[in-house]
């Protein structure tokens, strides 16, 4: 394994136990940093607004990204459309710390993802199940997150994806070695990655929860289900008091096993984002790029 890839996996290690927040302006980035975000994700519109506005969602304006890089000292991530390696080249030229090849944006390629091994900057990719996670890793992703359903404020899909990934990991772990070849075929992933999961009982990279986290309780739930950290997008800046809610979610991730503390954190947070129930969703972002 090349050294750059190891370094990129290691940055994700440093983000563990943290909260990564979506921001659309340098001002929001500062609020996120002050609230204790371990990184920010620069994007044009937060997922809830992408849903609201419709149309094609693309990589953010480099000027906005640079403004955010200057505003904060924590790592800055940004999103590119699935398969849009030219957008990724631009972000690498801006020296972004992490690229999210994201189904939240309109996919640029409906067949191929980016060959992430060609880049020096790290990539995080979304996954709904173990096969998808391992396919992204074999393409060069150095961090995985659940897809969940962005911009809905409904945690049900993130829960489903995290439970499924963890369950499939446990299944691989318990298989006989001679069953792993068939498992690789069924999952449509390289055999060596299946062996890694069998031996280690975890993904070879850090796995965060994303998509639908709106409350400290949601964040604690995802951590208890096995997430190593949490992405929060619309849940913060679509709520009544973003700074307070952001801080509460950061503390809930650190002490996800302390219900008494989370009870205190959940008090008086103001309005949570309204959200959309699963049955009311018109556009399923999680179905993009498998």
């Amino acid at each position: 394994m090349n050294q750059r890839y190891e370094l990129n996996k290691n940055l994700a290690q440093m983000l563990k136990g943290g909260v990564i927040m979506d921001v659309t302006t340098p001002e929001q980035a500062k609020i996120a940093e002050e609230a204790g975000a371990c990184a920010v994700m620069a994007l044009e519109k937060i997922p809830a607004d992408i849903r609201g506005a419709g149309g094609v969602a693309r990589m953010s304006d480099p000027k906005m990204i640079k403004g955010i890089q200057e505003a904060v000292s924590i790592p800055v991530m940004a999103k590119v459309r699935i398969g849009h390696f030219a957008e990724a080249q631009i972000l690498q030229a801006l020296e972004i710390d992490y690229i999210d090849e994201s189904e939240v944006l309109s996919p640029a390629d409906d067949t191929y993802h980016i060959d992430k091994t060609k880049f020096d900057v790290p990539f995080v990719c979304g996954a709904k199940d173990l096969g998808e996670a391992l396919r992204r890793i074999s393409e060069g992703a150095s961090m995985i997150r659940t897809k969940g359903e962005p911009g809905t404020g409904d945690v049900v899909q993130a829960v489903r994806h995290m439970r499924l990934i963890m369950k499939q990991i446990r299944q691989l772990q318990n298989m006989r070695e001679d069953e792993l070849y068939h498992a690789a075929k069924e999952l449509q992933v390289p055999y060596d990655l299946v062996c890694y999961v069998h031996e280690n009982g975890k993904l070879p990279v850090v796995n965060f929860a994303a998509g639908g986290v709106a409350t400290p309780a949601d964040a604690a739930l995802m951590m208890q289900l096995g997430a190593e950290g949490v992405f929060v997008g619309s849940g913060i800046f679509k709520s009544g008091d973003p700074a307070k809610r952001a801080q509460a979610i950061v503390k809930a991730v650190t002490n996800y096993n302390d219900p008494k503390l989370i009870a205190e954190l959940s008090e008086d947070l103001g309005e949570a984002m309204v959200g959309i129930n699963e049955q009311e969703i018109e556009l399923l972002m999680a179905a993009r790029g498998v």
């Binding site: 370094l7 943290g18 940093e33 020296e95 302390d258």
Partner: protein, 197 residues
């Protein structure tokens, strides 16, 4: 008797440190909130890699900051890696924030630039020999206070990347990300045993 070392676990790569301590036959425990500080004895503490802004903030808000600062000033052995080094530094040249400020060093945050500036190398660590060093958006020590008892333990391209002052040992790289445990052994033998005398 088995040594008992706390690892600050509010955010970052604390699991890796715990894993190494366990492999070295040391009992390690997570410190996530104030009550964790007082569950039994603590013969040393590790401040891990992660985001210093996040750790500093959570230390204060979870009301652990003052107690830990006092303990370190009173001689609690401490190993700070990367973000942990920033937490201990008396001054930070490119940041207004200050944390424990117990160690007489001046550090520069994100001194090698963004993630593209992260690198891995093998270099000498005084008293140990050549060891692997992984730098992730790392800081380095710009200078150490001259009239103080700070010992420089490793340098790369003229920048200090490891140092020790009394009970405090810091590295700007991540010894917990490699399978070479000699920095942890050094901490357990040289730093934490000294203070117990």
């Amino acid at each position: 008797m088995q040594k008992r070392i706390g690892v600050l676990a509010v955010q970052g790569a604390f699991a890796e440190h715990i894993n190494i301590l366990n492999k070295l036959g040391v009992e390690a425990f997570e410190i996530r909130q104030k009550s964790d500080l007082y569950h039994g004895t603590m013969e040393g503490i590790i401040l891990p890699g992660g985001e210093s802004t996040v750790m500093g903030k959570l230390l204060r808000e979870l009301e652990m900051f003052e107690d830990l600062k006092t303990a370190i000033e009173d001689g609690l052995p401490v190993l700070g890696t990367c973000a942990g080094l920033i937490l201990l530094a008396k001054s930070i040249s490119n940041d207004k924030s200050r944390y424990f400020g117990t160690m007489d060093i001046k550090v520069k945050r994100n001194a090698y630039g963004r993630q593209l500036g992260s690198f891995h190398t093998i270099s000498e660590f005084k008293g140990i020999g050549d060891i692997p060093m992984t730098f992730i958006r790392a800081p380095y020590i710009e200078e150490v206070a001259k009239d103080q008892d700070v010992k420089i333990l490793a340098e790369i391209d003229g920048h200090i990347v490891a140092a020790r002052q009394r009970n405090m040992l810091v590295t700007s790289f991540h010894p917990e990300l490699t399978s070479d445990y000699r920095v942890h052994q050094y901490f357990l033998e040289k730093v934490s045993s000294l203070s117990l005398l």
